[in-house]
Each structure stands twice: as structure tokens, then as C-alpha cells.
């Protein structure tokens, strides 16, 4: 196998980097263990939701005040703005129009009835619950186990929203005893099913000004199912973020994949990258391993988008050390493993912010400290770039910055690696 640029990882950062590099004219190959955070997250574009636990109102402005080693500072504000603009165009062209203003955060309603701060939201989730006033109905589809309207409505009332809980019957179908959000979303893709579903949903909504439902309104055709069902019900439908798998994330993943296919980017899924081949300070190939065989992919440039510890990019060892799994890049560890985590589960775990330190061109750098052989801050490998959750200096969960960092750093990498250099003979 051979590619101009190998992107390792298919989460928000790897997907964006692969598309942007391909759009810039590079020949790209994606090597991935499996799905990434698109499938696990709330289906929004977080830029900067919280700082020090406090809600951020103006994410772009606040991002500029972050420490100098934060990925946003390294990528620069221009890359972040450009990344968000690019994303809005990509999503819109794929039938996944998003609403929102990079300058201001907004609320995303969740299945637990919390209102999480985020920046851009897919249209089915975007309508503010307080818009126009009036009562909000929180409605589940009968038998769906990943949405509990009583809990959601109770928490919303706690947040000052006039919310009531209800349940809508499901039309007769094949999955009565066994369905997840994905089966339900696929069923709702079907026009006939939607038409049978709508009257019960309308009755459950009982004239509410807005109807909060789990984010399961179709998965195969962008926002079509949501728009159609909303028309049939005659009231605004608002998709609430649920626990994984994220249906909005699946929609977005499908859009990325279609775009990559259109750009001729090749894929190698189910093959985690396990090592690199090197020539001096350059990586010449990536070794990956599937169930049956190992594959070597030669490359000019390597982009690592493997995520932090949560994404499999970094291994947290029993002795408190950390290891970057593909290229053995330096990662600052901890004295012992109790330092990995906080006393409170809902607190801030140091492990969540662990990552690879990079220079202004997103190249991994040597660890500071007297014992490393090379000067601190100099690149470890000349043709390796790191993007997204793998980067040190941020905790995407605690900050609510996952998609913004992914887009900003992917954009920066695409700028750095374009146009394509003359191939090395």
C-alpha cells in the first residue's frame, strides 16, 4: 500500500483532516481501528463550552485567552474560524444543515433534561426550547429504552422550562421486543412508518409549543425524516442528545464517508495502526494489523488522529506511565496511576487532558526535562502531525471543545501540507 498522506483515525479530527487534505489535492488514505467519537458524542459541534466549570458564552473570544500550549492557540484563531465555516458548508451540502454562530454558544437539550452549552447544532436539535414561550412536551417512543421523559421533563422543569412528559405509541413493526435507537431511526427513515407514527406523536404532544424527542429521527437521509415528521406532527420537533450510539453522529459520519468516497480517498477500517517504519527523523510507512493480516502503508506524510486515552491513541499503564501507541511519541506520564483520575467521577481527570505535545506546525516535540537527549521543543519526527484529541493541553470532555479542536487542527494540517510537494524520487 502507498499513499501521499496517511491519516490514522476516523474520528472528528481524522475525518476532517482526510477530507481537507484530499480537497487540497493530496492523495490520502485513512487507516482506522474503527469508528471514533462521531458515534459517541452528543452530535453537536462544541467549540468551548466550559472553562473552569463555568459556562462560556462567547467561545471564539474565550479560546483566544487559553494558555499558549492549547491546541486552539497552536492552530490559531483563523484556522478555527476557517474550520467552522468549512464544516458548515460540508454539512449543509450533505443535507445536514447546522445552525449557530461561532461567536455565541447556545443550548443543546439532552436526554437527562440538562441544557449543555455548545456552538453549532444540527437543525433538528437547534431550536431553543424557550423560543416563543409555551409548554414543552417531552415525548418518548413507546418501548425505547434510551429516553426517559419523566426524568428529562423533571430536570427541564428544574431549569425553568415548562415541561411535561408523555409517550407516543409506535406503529406495529418487526422489532417490538428488540430495538435500539439505530433500528428506530432506520424505521423512521421510511415514509410509511413516519405517517403511521405521526398521529400518535401529535396526540402525545397535545398542542405543546415544542416537542423534545430522542435523537432518533432517521439516519439514512440527512435531516429529511425529521423535517417530514415535523410537518406531519405540526409542531417543532427537537432532538435531545442521548447516550451512544449517537444517531446525529452516524448521519455526520455517513456524510464524511460519502465525501471521502467522492474525493477518491481509500479506507482501511478495522486495522489499528500499531507501528511506524522510519528513516532517520522521517516516517516512511505505517504498519497496521487486522484480524487476519498485517498491512504496511508507505507514505510521505503521516497525520495522527488517534485520540487521547479514550480514543486508543494513548495507553495508560499500570505504573502511571503513558505511551503513544502508533509512533511511540513522547507523552508526559504521571508518578503513579492514582494521579490519572480525580476523586470525583464528575470532576476533571488528568488523564482526560493527557496527550502529545506539538510545535506550532503540530509536529510532536521532545518532552521537556534534563534527561531527554534532544532539546526540549524540537520535533521528534519531521513528517508527523498530530490533530484532535491526541493533542496535549486540553480536555475535550471537560472543556467541551472536541469538534472545534478537531476542525481547527485538521484545517491547520491541511494548510501546512498543501499544496502537494514534488514526490520524492
Amino acid at each position: 500500500m502507498r499513499a501521499d498522506v496517511v491519516v490514522v483515525g476516523a474520528g472528528p479530527a481524522g475525518l476532517a483532516a482526510a477530507v481537507r487534505l484530499a480537497e487540497a489535492g493530496r492523495q490520502v488514505r485513512v487507516v482506522a481501528r474503527g469508528n471514533g467519537f462521531t458515534h459517541w458524542g452528543p452530535g453537536a459541534v462544541d467549540v468551548l463550552g466550559r472553562l473552569g466549570g463555568e459556562r462560556v458564552e462567547r467561545p471564539l473570544e474565550a479560546a483566544g485567552r487559553l494558555p499558549a500550549d492549547h491546541p486552539y492557540r497552536l492552530a490559531g484563531e483563523a484556522a478555527l474560524r476557517d474550520g467552522l465555516d468549512w464544516f458548515l458548508r460540508l454539512a449543509g451540502a450533505a443535507g445536514l444543515a447546522h445552525a449557530g454562530d461561532p461567536e455565541r454558544n447556545r443550548d443543546q437539550v439532552t436526554a437527562l433534561g440538562t441544557l449543555r452549552p455548545t456552538c453549532l447544532l444540527p437543525e433538528p436539535a437547534a431550536r431553543p426550547l424557550t423560543e416563543g414561550g409555551g409548554r414543552v412536551a417531552v415525548v418518548n417512543f413507546e418501548g425505547f429504552r434510551d429516553f426517559w421523559p419523566a426524568l428529562c421533563a423533571a430536570a427541564l422543569r428544574g431549569a425553568g422550562v415548562d415541561a411535561v412528559a408523555a409517550t407516543a405509541p409506535l406503529p406495529r413493526w418487526d422489532h417490538a421486543r428488540y430495538f435500539t435507537g439505530i433500528e428506530l431511526a432506520k424505521a423512521i427513515d421510511d415514509d410509511g412508518f413516519r405517517r403511521r407514527l405521526a398521529p400518535g406523536l401529535a396526540r402525545a404532544a397535545a398542542g405543546a409549543a415544542a416537542v423534545v424527542v430522542p435523537a432518533v429521527l432517521g439516519v439514512g437521509d440527512g435531516h429529511t425524516a425529521w423535517a417530514e415528521l415535523q410537518r406531519l406532527v405540526g409542531a417543532p420537533l427537537v432532538e435531545a442528545a442521548t447516550a451512544p450510539p449517537s444517531i446525529p453522529g452516524l448521519r455526520l459520519f455517513a456524510a464524511y464517508r460519502a465525501r471521502l468516497d467522492a474525493l477518491g480517498v481509500s479506507w482501511q477500517f478495522g486495522f489499528p495502526a500499531i507501528a511506524v517504519e522510519r528513516d532517520g527523523d522521517r516516517v516512511t510507512a505505517v504498519r497496521s494489523e487486522g484480524a487476519s493480516r498485517a498491512v504496511v502503508t508507505h507514505c510521505q506524510e503521516l497525520v495522527l488522529a488517534t485520540g487521547g486515552v479514550a480514543g486508543h491513541g494513548i495507553e495508560a499503564n499500570r505504573d502511571g506511565t503513558l505511551a503513544e501507541v502508533v509512533a511511540g511519541l513522547p507523552v508526559e506520564g504521571f508518578g503513579n496511576r492514582t494521579a490519572f483520575v480525580a476523586d470525583r467521577f464528575l470532576g476533571e481527570h488528568p488523564l482526560g487532558a493527557a496527550g502529545v505535545r506539538v510545535d506550532a506546525e503540530l509536529r510532536p516535540v521532545h518532552r521537556p526535562g534534563p534527561r531527554s537527549g534532544s532539546p526540549s521543543g524540537s520535533p521528534v519526527l519531521a513528517n508527523v502531525r498530530c490533530v484532535g484529541g491526541l493533542l496535549a493541553g486540553h480536555d475535550p470532555t471537560v472543556e467541551g471543545s472536541r469538534e472545534g479542536v478537531a476542525l481547527a487542527t485538521a484545517t491547520r494540517v491541511a494548510q501546512l501540507l498543501a499544496p502537494a510537494p514534488t514526490p520524492v524520487s
Binding site: 467519537f37 459517541w40 458524542g41 452528543p42 463550552g49 466549570g53 439532552t110 436526554a111 437527562l112 433534561g113 440538562t114 441544557l115 449543555r116 452549552p117 418501548g143 429504552r145 429516553f147 426517559w148 419523566a150 426524568l151 428529562c152 423533571a154 430536570a155 422543569r157 428544574g158 422489532h175 421486543r177 428488540y178 430495538f179 435500539t180 442528545a241 442521548t242 447516550a243 451512544p244 487521547g308 486515552v309 479514550a310 486508543h312 495507553e315 495508560a316 499503564n317 499500570r318 503513579n336 496511576r337 492514582t338 490519572f340 483520575v341 476523586d343 470525583r344 467521577f345 464528575l346 470532576g347 481527570h349 488523564l351 482526560g352 475535550p396 470532555t397 471537560v398 467541551g400 472536541r402
Partner: protein, 560 residues
Amino acid sequence: MTSLDTDVVVVGGGVTGVAVLRDLALRGVRAVLVERFDLGTGTSGRWHGLLHSGARYAVRDQESARECIEENTVLRRIAPHTIEDVGGLFVLLPGDDEAYAGQFVDGCRASGIPTEELSAAQARRREPLLAPGVRLAYAVPDGGIDSWGLLRSMAADAEARGCRVLVRHPVVGVERDGDRIAAVRVHDRVAGEDRLIGCQWVVNAAGPWAGEIGRMAGVPIRMIAGKGVMVVMASRYVRGVVNACRKPADGDIIVPQHEVAVLGTTSVQVDSPDDITVAPADVDRMVDMCAQMVPSIASGRVLRAFAGSRPLYQPESADGDSGGGDTREVSRTFTVLDHASRDGLANMLSIVGGKLTTCRQMAEALVDRLAERMGVTEPCRTATEPLPGADHGPHRLAAPLAAVEREVAYGELVCECELVTRDQVRAAVAGGLTELEDLRRKLRLGYGPCQAAFCAWRAAGMLAEGRPEGSEDALAGLERFLEERWRGQQATTWGDQARQALLNHAIYRGTFDLRGAGRPDEAAAAGLAPAEPGEGDPTTRVGSELVGESNGRTSSKAGG
């Protein structure tokens, strides 16, 4: 303040107290059991789940060994539904002392414990993951037992026979009338008020906390807190129990329990039964030692670690410095204290020491003594009368999965790891359970590899369905449960489990935006400052409910 009257107040909702209650019920005595939290929240819920054959004690403590094998046989008869009848092995590793193996076989024979010697090949056929170096093994009738199942069955039987169980009723004081206890004062934590229970007799079955009840009643009972650390692996590894055939030591047992395996255990004297901290070094030692028997444990996924406190009794005659070290020297047998002859307190008995396997026998010995004093002539029937549920036969690991498959009920699962269905949760909620922790103990919700990532909020949603509007911050109970579950994980977060922890964090703090800010945990709710780990001590706290409650108790009317 409300009050009620009964003949006997039993203090302590562990297996001993509940076994005493059932014994009293079968003899027709009116009794009320009071428990500060839920049944099995102390030592009875913080152990490895081993139904002892007694072989572990065969060399050094044959009295305990005999008690164990007798009760092992009885429990299989009266409570088979709580038992995983998996058997056990004692394996001899390279370097283990063969002389000890000889003493072991002799001790088992002398104690009445059947053993069968297996060659290395036979042992590995039975346990394929055993270390290649295992030289030989002895098969013994060890098993697994679900103490919460046992507790529920005994309590249900006692209640059906007219006795009462009051959970969330900590004892806050004892009303003396001369040389007698006239009443026990408890605090109803749900109603938020004290209740006075007038009684003729008091049974102190508070386990490691027996000394505190003794203090309230004005009698000295010297308990030794013997901390045992246990480590939970994400899969079973073994078909049956695997023990090291050597002098009892840290990390010498692997107990398969439902979907997981529990590695045990340490035995260290600590100052307080509420000290149930787990140090990472304890976890490492347990994993490394058990990996000598089953090597794949070394690279396995550790779910969590927890500690319990053994209810070891220090007889007055042996009073003195017990060294503060290894508590394995202290006998595992039990003692009934009659405070009339011992302390001049006419109507209280205490039961101390012992172990879960012998809980029924302990109750029998105590109630025999009490019945004699009360003039009750009805004999003990607990050894022959099966418990409710016994007709289901032994617990089989695959049974819950088979039931789900039969019903094609995959979509009904609230907890995929432990195969808990929506109907089970609904029934439990309809039965009055209001806390996720209670659902966990009743249904094993949240025990599995994902450590409640998905089931916790589903179950919270189901609890919310029946709750009146505005009764509590809707999410506080969920946050409490998540924090409670986390306490067992701080010493075990690395490798795959670190990924799981960060994923769970991304779900609850990321997607659901829970921060726990201003939402107090149980200790804070009780008006107590959370205890901090010792300075410079790399330990983590587990199960702070015990810490919190103990503080509440000692600062109450104990001196009165």
C-alpha cells in the same frame, strides 16, 4: 417521635442479624431488625462471595473449618438458589511447600472436609487457564454464594412470619432502665425523625460495629477491624474457586461470581471498621499473586477494587497488643456474649466473629441461648426449613441469558452487562426501592464491565417515572450513584478500564453535562465533611457511606 414495641430488637442487617431474625421468627418470637442503611451494606456486602468448604482453615483453625463444612452442607440444602455450585481447587505451585500440602490434607480429613487429589493434567482439564507450573491440586466443595440473595430470602421468610425489618434506621441511642435496656432509639432516615422501640431483649449483631452498639449500651466489646481488599476482574477466568495451597496470604484466592471474578484478599488490622481504603499497591499485589495461579489475569481488565472489614473479636482474656499487623492469626470462629453474666446488663446478647458461611449456625447458637433465657422452648428449625426460592435449585450462570433469549427480550435489557431487564427494575421500583444503590444490590445493576455507563441513567429514568414532581433534584440520585460507583475505581484505572472510565466521563459529564456542582453526595447530605485520604498516602476511599454514617452515630446520643 413515634414508638413501637416488640420482644426482641436485632441490631444489624448483615447476614448474622438477618439469620437471627429468621431463627426467632421460626420459633414464634416477635422481633424487629434495625439496619442503618440497606441489608448487606457492611461486611456482608463487602467480601469475595466464597461459600467456604472450610479447607482454607483446615491447617490452623479446625474449629472454624468444621463449622464451615457443616454450614456449607446446610446452605446447599436451605438456600441452593443463592449458590453457584462450582467447587474449588487448592493448587500447588512451584516453590510451594509440600509439607504444607500434607498438613492440608490431614487437616481437611480431621475437619470432615472431603478432598480429591488431582494431577496437574486433571487440574488443568478442570481449569484450563491454570498456570503451566501447577504441580497438583486438591478439589474441595467450595462454591460461590450471593449474600444479597441469601439476605433477601432470610428477611422475606422472617417478615412472612411476622417479624419486621427496618432499613435506614440507624441506632442512635439505648434507653437503660437500671440493669436493663428498656428501649432502643433509632432514627428513621426517610421520615427524618427518631423512633423508640420498646423491647424485652436486644441482640447486637452489628458485626465489626458491635463495639459501638456495646458502647451505647454501656458494655465493653473489643472488636478488631481486619481489613480485606478485593479486586474485581471483568471476566470469570475460572470455572470454580481457585485457592493457593499455602499458608493464608494476600492474593491467594480467585472466586468466580456471576460474570466476574473476585481476587482476594488482604488481612490487615486497621483502627476502624470504616477504614476501607484501597491502595494501588494492594491491587497490584492481588493481581500479581493471583496471576501466579492464572497467568492471564496479569493482562486482564480490572474493574474495581473494594475493601471490607472482618468482624474479628478480641476476647478479654487475650487482651493485649495484637500487633497491628496481620489479622490472620485471629480465629474465624464466633462467640456469643451474654452481657448479663459478663457485664451485668440483663437483657442484651452480642454475637461477634464468625463468617458468612456460618451465619446460620451463629444465629442458632445465639437464639438457643436467648430462647433459654426467654423461656421459649421451640427448637431451632433453620437448618432444615428451606428458604423461599430454594425450589429454583442452584444458581446457574447461564440462566439469565437463557431467559432473555427465550423471551427474545434483548431490547428489554436495562443493564446489558448483568442482563437486568426493564420488568425487573419496574418490579423493584414498584416494591418500594428508591435509590440506584438499592437496585444495584438487588439486581446487580451496574456491576459489569461498563460500570454503569448505560444502565445508571436508564434506571434513573425509571425511578423518575413514579416520583412525585419536585420531590428532589431529578438528577441528584444519579450523580450520587455515579460517585459511589467511582469510589471503587480510582485504584484500578489503567489500560482498557481507563478508556472505559473516560468514555463514561464523556457520556455523563460531556454529553449529559452533569458536573455534580452543588449536588451533595451522601456524606455531605448528612451534614458531614467528606473524609480525605491521609496526607501523602496514595490511598483512595471506597464506600464512604460507612465513614459518613459512623461519624453521624458517634456524634449522636451515644454518650447517653
